[in-house]
């Protein structure tokens, strides 16, 4: 009997997370790189863990499974990648070439799909959204480019009796989980799995430090520069801005005018000022309820 195989591809994204609003200069509209923390998207770590658990299950039942990691990353991110790979990936590839530095979601997915086709994956894991771009789209794009079915919001996955089949738990917001059965090929997008990512032992870490991550350039995955440019110009990013303040902030009048203007423009996010509700219990409570309604946390005559 031909052994069933899961050829799993886990997509890893190296994100630059902004750890504080202070890192954003509202006048110049730029982000100070000192406030950016480079890390692997946490959702991808959950994917990796899910893939590893599935591989273990598959191998226990006599099937075969292989985990290949794929990323669009530059050389200086290899350290981060390898730390994630040490969890138990078998092989890894990274796509890098000129002009890949800034890509939109569709271009990203296009490149990834070409890479996956080259690797020959049939069970693709992808993060639901990356913290730095909040795209929430690459998984869907990927599925469409590959022409695989897609299941999103996957939190856990077990093998089923169907050939190359498995059942996954898909999150339904606030209501529960659907149990969805399918088989390869498929794209699964993961936001947060039920199993915490494992910590690799140091042998594994050292092993991966010595291993090579194969580099794929555009030519090796069959992507032309103009194709990429086409997918990349689908949207145009204009600028960043500060979120609106939650309440009106009146700068103190004793501050110098430049300071007052700056604070007013930035919405006063530098210093949080607590608004204390005044009065007797009754008064405070009604103010509180008014506030909750105004801020849309509750609805009159119905649930949230």
């Amino acid at each position: 009997m031909e052994k069933e195989t899961f050829r799993m591809v886990v997509c890893l994204k190296v994100i630059h997370e902004l750890c504080s609003e202070r890192g954003f200069d509202p006048l110049k509209r730029t982000i100070d790189p000192e406030y950016l923390i480079r890390r692997i998207n946490p959702s991808d770590e959950y994917s990796m863990e899910m893939a590893l658990l599935l591989k273990e299950e598959k191998q226990k039942s006599g099937g075969r499974a292989e985990i290949v990691a794929l990323s669009i990353a530059q050389a200086e991110d290899e350290g981060l990648l390898k730390r994630c790979l040490a969890m138990g990936a078998d092989r890894a590839f990274r796509i890098w070439d000129e002009g890949i530095e800034t890509l939109g979601g569709m271009a990203f997915a296009y490149l990834l799909s070409a890479g996956i086709r080259r690797i020959g994956g049939n069970l693709v894991f992808c993060g639901q959204k990356a913290i730095d771009r909040n795209g929430n789209e690459v998984g869907g794009y990927l599925a469409e480019f590959l022409q695989f079915p897609q299941i999103s919001g996957v939190t856990a996955i077990d093998i089923s009796e169907k050939e190359n089949g498995f059942v996954c738990r898909r999150k339904v917001e606030r209501l529960g989980w659907d149990l969805v059965e399918t088989s390869t090929p498929v794209v699964l997008t993961v936001e947060r799995g039920e199993n915490e990512p494992r910590y690799p032992n140091v042998y594994s870490i050292l092993n991966w430090l010595g291993k090579e991550i194969e580099i794929l350039d555009r030519a090796s995955i069959g992507v032309e520069a103009n194709q990429l440019e086409e997918w990349n110009s689908v949207v145009r990013i204009k600028e960043w801005s500060r979120p609106k303040p939650k309440k009106v902030f009146t700068p103190k009048s004793n501050l110098p005018p430049e300071e007052r203007i700056r604070l007013a423009m930035t919405g006063g996010m530098d210093k949080k000022k607590t608004i204390f509700l005044q009065g007797e219990t009754k008064g405070m409570v009604s103010q509180m309820v008014d506030l909750l309604v105004k801020q849309k946390f509750i609805k009159e005559g119905g649930k949230t």
């Binding site: 149990l179 204009k238 946390f297």
Partner: protein
């Protein structure tokens, strides 16, 4: 394009329109040109009654697809359907909610229709022939303004709870066009084989949008009971500081703080919690914090947006009562 309709893909459950659908319709009504129509796509089983209600939110026309097979959410079939009718009817833009429903549909459709997509928008405006969208990035620390390419069909998913719902008295009866669609079952590769119901109270704390956390100030089971009631009324998840776990009011997986979890809810109540650093480091990414404590010098007030200084044993029952009242 002039004369092309703005589409909303409706999300509903148990015969009721979800709030996000109402928000989408209201925003759609505000945004559309007077020359184009506001159209809703409604797919499901026995949902004709809902179609009529859509008029209250400004929808002028409904494309209705009814049938047994549409009872459970099946993204592949829906994408197939939507793709077909988009090709047939040529909308100017298509709006979804940024929910697991919308996010499962919009990206694939965008590629299939060779369109563009901006997800999780918190503001959306027409600008000339094109659109301008604003979305949060970096977990809400910054907003990003994005302009989709004007030559392509734009898709948007909108963040729930942001856009105002406006009800109007419709001037004309709503136009309903029934659409028939056969989905060949072989194309559908995923099959729903079951459902696990979630208890909102035991949702993953890290993902909870509304959290009510209690600490030492609750004093006893009775105080904790008020907190549980508040959580129930708000539809929030119950959590606690380390002291609450030590007292056994909440299990360890509901602990917030240094040796517990970090939460990022839209609304957090910190009740009877002094606010030591070991606790506040778990809530620093919350969007809106309300603190109730009888000590005016409690450090929790340094991180709270709203503070109430008083005895929670008086405040909470009152608050719960008022909330119960307005919900009726």
């Amino acid at each position: 394009m002039e004369g092309r309709d703005l589409w909303i893909v409706i999300e509903h459950k148990d015969g009721e329109l979800l709030d996000i659908s109402k928000e989408l319709c209201s925003q759609g009504r505000r945004m559309k040109r007077s020359s184009s129509g506001l159209v809703a796509i409604l797919v499901g089983k026995e949902i004709r009654g809902l179609a009529d209600r859509l008029g209250q939110y400004g929808v002028e026309k409904v494309y209705l697809v009814e049938g047994e097979e549409w009872e459970r959410f099946n993204p592949e079939a829906l994408i197939d359907l939507l793709s077909r009718i988009i090709l047939e009817k040529c909308p100017s833009a298509v709006l979804f909610g940024s929910t697991s429903f919308g996010n499962a549909l919009a990206p694939r459709l965008a590629i299939r229709q060779q369109g563009t997509l901006v997800t999780d928008c918190i503001d959306l405006k027409k600008q000339g022939e094109g659109w301008v969208a604003l979305k949060p990035v970096h977990e809400g620390k910054l907003n990003l303004m994005i302009v989709p390419a004007s030559a392509r069909l734009p898709f948007f998913t909108l963040q729930p709870g942001v856009f105002e719902i406006e009800e109007i008295a419709p001037t004309q009866p709503i136009e309903i066009e029934q659409i028939h669609h056969e989905t060949s079952l072989e194309k559908i590769c995923t099959k729903i084989v079951g459902f696990i119901k979630a208890d909102p109270k035991s949702a993953y704390l890290e993902e909870a949008e509304l959290v009510v956390a209690g600490g030492k100030g609750l004093r006893d089971e009775k105080g904790f009971g008020y907190l549980e009631e508040l959580a129930d009324l708000l539809g929030a998840t119950v959590a606690g500081s380390r002291v609450a776990v030590d007292f056994g009011w909440v299990p360890y997986d509901r602990q917030i703080g240094l040796t517990g979890k970090k939460v990022t809810p839209r609304l957090l109540f910190a009740i009877g919690i002094s606010g030591a650093f070991e606790f506040t480091m778990g809530i620093k990414d919350s969007k809106f914090i309300v603190a109730i404590n009888k000590d005016p010098n409690a450090p929790i007030f340094k991180v709270a947006d709203i503070g109430m200084i008083g005895d929670l044993h008086e405040i909470l029952p009152r608050l719960n009562e008022t909330l119960r009242y307005i919900k009726e």
